[in-house]
């Protein structure tokens, strides 16, 4: 048992009487490492539960299941494995950003190509949302790690999908502004409370879970986006009106 473990937890382990009113979610050993680890472990267990559950369901009841049903269960396992892979990638990215070991492979890149590719794939992931592109004329090439900037765009677009109603338009914009490119993604979703606009880039931040029921995630996506944009020398921020929508802006220096 770690010395950092709160006294209440130690008492619980030692089996002393514990009033029910004092028993809630376990307190975290420390705000930084402990909460992240706890949240990540929690999020890992859900896809693991799906993988383990369906694997043993298939093994134990093989003779009783039809081929179509088996295929559905394998698809569930595949989706859960994808969730696990995404989560592990997020943790690795977070770790590299925090330790300063993230390596960028920068090359002159046409940002409009990245935006168009991101929008095309986003239309496939979220066909219920029309996506409109507005780009300035002849955007200059910018020296970036195309894969990482695409990662930022994908993450911001996925957030726009998650937190806005079906059929609402998402606008992706890019324009030159003095010595930088300004890129933005706007949605007409639930927005973010005014007091939380600065906090959305903090790790583990989630919009009110009751309002975002069904939207899973650890709360690392925008933190990683900030790290990636800043590693390119840019800035990222959010403007939002609760109940009406949000716009994520980020810049890349020319």
């Amino acid at each position: 048992m770690s010395e950092a473990m709160p006294q209440m937890l130690k008492e619980g382990w030692h089996g002393q009487n514990l009033p029910v009113t004092n028993v809630g979610e376990p307190r975290e050993p420390d705000e930084n490492g402990g909460r992240l680890l706890s949240t990540v472990c929690h999020e890992l267990r859900t896809p693991l539960a799906i993988i383990r559950g369906y694997t043993t369901l298939l093994l134990d009841y093989d003779q009783k299941l039809e081929t179509r049903e088996k295929r559905e269960y394998v698809q569930s396992i595949d989706r859960a494995a994808g969730r696990l892979a995404d989560l592990v990638d997020h943790i690795l990215d977070m770790s590299r950003l925090e330790s300063g070991t993230l390596h960028l492979e920068k090359a002159p890149t046409a940002i409009s190509d990245i935006i168009q590719e991101a929008a095309a794939e986003a239309r496939f992931r979220g066909p219920e949302h029309p996506i409109r592109l507005t780009q300035g004329r002849s955007l200059p090439r910018v020296r970036v790690d195309a894969k990482r900037i695409r990662q930022v765009l994908d993450n911001v677009l996925d957030n726009a999908f998650k937190y806005s109603g079906e059929g609402t338009e998402i606008v992706v914009s890019a324009q030159r502004r003095e010595q930088e490119l300004l890129i933005s993604v706007s949605d007409q979703g639930i927005g973010v409370p005014a007091g939380d606009v600065e906090r959305v880039f903090e790790r583990l931040y989630r919009v009110d879970p009751q309002e975002t029921a069904g939207n899973r995630g650890v709360g690392l996506g925008l933190t990683i986006c900030r790290g990636l944009v800043e590693a390119h020398g840019g800035r990222i921020w959010l403007e939002s009106t609760e109940g009406r929508g949000s716009t994520v802006f980020f810049t890349l220096p020319l």
Binding site: L9, G12, G24, R45, A49, Y54, Y61, A213
Partner: protein, 143 residues
Amino acid sequence: MQKTRRETSILVIEDEADIRRFAYRVLDLEGYNVLQAGNGEEGMRLARNTRGLSMVLLDLKLPDRDGWLVLEDLKRDPELSSVPVLVFSVSATPLLRRKAAAMGASGYLAKPVDASGLRRAIAATVQWQRMFEPGCPEDTAAG
């Protein structure tokens, strides 16, 4: 007269669709009558409307309300208070297990769980509930 498995109604309250379907299918293949709810409100509605409900498998992380509150409501309802509740959660610290026990849960099943673990936990909970039913074999044995 003891209920047959098909007469044994189990309510699964779980918001994660894939996990809910896994639990449903295993228990259905085992011959139980399984009801499903994806949130706390629907779960309470089904619990109140199902005559002779045998047990509830209850996830703690639900989209509309805290699973602990659902457990509290089940235990406060005079018609449902004797229905065993097996808590089903990814968080399974000793503290949480003790809290569930103190609130009247019959057991605590941690995720991930395999099909056999689920079968055993459900069978044990159903068996425990049968001990309180009239006509239980122990009644006869005790004379």
